[in-house]
Amino acid sequence: MRSKLTPVILFVAVLLLVAFPFVGEKFYIQLIAKVMIMAIFAMSLDLLVGYTGLVSLGHAAFFGLAGYVLAKAAPQYAAANFWTTLPLALGACAVFALFTGFLVLRTSGIYFIMVTLAFSQMLFFVFHDTPFGGGSDGIYIYAKPEIKIGETALLDLEDFKVLYWFTLGLMTLVYLFLHRVLDSNFGRALIGIKTNEHRLRALGFPTFRYKLASYMLSGTLAGLAGYLAALQFGFVNPEILSWHISGSVLMMVILGGMGSLHGAALGAFVFILLQEMLSNQSWFGPVAKHWQLAMGVFIIAVALLLPHGLVGLGSTLKNRRKRAGGHG
């Protein structure tokens, strides 16, 4: 489904995103920055769901864990060091993925869905109940981490525009990175696992290790998104580990079209913007309070009518017309 035009469209899209802070208002710049963070999150899950064939309903665990690592590692009223806190957050996610992956990958299908959900819920309780986690109120991150070499600051993340471009740069990097990975031997093997794991084993691939590597990579990238989210919002609470986040990011991947990186990113854009629109009080008045109702109906409709997401809309319509033609 990847046409020759795709790289051109993506390039233009990135250029537009680069230019946006010059014309947009602060509220929208911050909103789009949030959307791009979620796009990183969605692409990381797509590696698992769309390319490895593992449906996880617990991806928020990594997102939230990385955020909490930043919050815990940051000094209370001073800025944290970006160079130490980021690797720490990503490392924590990789280790958590290694341990849980070893367990969840022993299962498959429905079990995998339930066990990933259960593990993210376990982490939820770790931060919600124990004195370590700061309870349901969460923890504030008063200052954004500093990116310095020696004594010179490279980027001032307190500036919302700089933060926006920084996020855009990271999103682009993650896209290019995953694109490269999927084109490699490793990526080919992952797609093979999704298509027919049994056959891939018969060809001599130790598939468990490949799945574990994919799970760890996916979890670590989700951690990057979680780190950025905590950095942007300035606080973390157990809600960022909740299964509503896991459900939403899965929705983004499918809405955009799983098995397509830019599809996942597109899904994040559409999902978050839709959420903003539906909950906008000046548009929908008191009804906006119940925006989840419309969102729920929308999700059900996507599940029933858009199996290949927005990216696959063309082929879905074509199939439908063909079927309708066949009957008539």
């Binding site: 080919r188 093997a189 018969a202 001599g204």
Partner: protein, 259 residues
């Protein structure tokens, strides 16, 4: 006769109380085709699955005498480990990767032999040696012209050929072929029979097949299974002559037109 490369001894697989494979012994030799025949449900596919590691035997041994690398008992090893030791299998049901082209299917198979899977930044198509192996295996299976075609677009016969080509791309020493002729037309069958004969020169082949003409055309050795047990084993001539086999199986099966 030279030493066997694979020696199956007293192999048994129980499902619940039922013995799908019961006390089966057989040898595979390099340069020879060993055919296993028998009616449906005789345990032939189970036997293949036991050797290839998809199933774990209840008892018995499967010894693989790898040249210069020592001796392995395959019983209980995982299917990917067994494949890496040099035992390839083709499946009865066509089992290929439909999103990929024929060439990419073979490249994926060939890739399993090299230890560079963790280089995640290098494009999969940029390994000249792997490409060469994939190309060669396509050629061997008679698909040289069809490499760039999407696997889903291949005809049924071509998909069966691709199944064999993928198996070859893993460069096995032993080939386990589970009904390679299933669903093939007469022309395609002839081509595969010729291919099997050609492959026999360098491999040890275990062939499971219903097409008796093909079996008698290529097999050096024949084992007849009924109800999970071996009822006769020997040269094709000897088996054909066996009254026991005539009565139990061959009498009805031979001469049937198998499609």
């Amino acid at each position: 006769m030279a030493d066997p490369v694979l020696r199956v001894e007293n192999l048994t697989k129980l499902f619940g109380g039922l013995a799908a494979v019961n006390d089966v012994s057989l040898d595979l030799h390099l340069g020879q085709v060993h055919a296993v025949i028998g009616p449906n449900g005789a345990g032939k596919s189970t036997l293949t699955n036991l050797i290839s590691g998809e199933l774990t035997p209840t008892s018995g041994s499967i010894r693989y005498l790898a040249h210069g690398e020592g001796e392995f008992d395959l019983a209980g090893l995982s299917s990917d480990r067994i494949s890496r030791l040099g035992i390839g299998r083709s499946f009865q049901k066509t089992n290929i990767f439909l999103p990929f082209t024929a060439f990419e299917n073979c490249r994926l198979a060939a890739q399993s032999r090299q230890q560079r899977a963790w280089r995640i930044f290098r494009g999969a198509s940029r390994y000249a040696d792997v490409n060469a192996i994939a190309e060669h295996s396509l050629q061997s299976a008679g698909l040289a012209e069809r490499g760039q075609v999407n696997a889903a677009m291949l005809s049924h016969g071509e998909q069966r050929q691709l199944e064999i080509a993928m198996c070859l791309a893993t460069q096995p020493r032993i080939l386990l072929m589970d009904e390679p002729l299933a669903g093939m037309g007469p022309q395609e069958s002839l081509r595969i029979v010729a291919l099997i004969r050609q492959l026999a020169a360098e491999h040890a082949i275990l062939l499971i097949e219903h097409d008796m003409d093909a079996v008698f055309a290529v097999a050096h050795c024949l084992t007849v299974m009924v109800n999970g047990e071996v009822i006769e084993s020997g040269t094709p001539q000897a088996v054909r002559a066996s009254a026991h086999v005539q009565q139990a199986y061959l009498g009805e099966a031979h001469g049937d037109t198998h499609d």
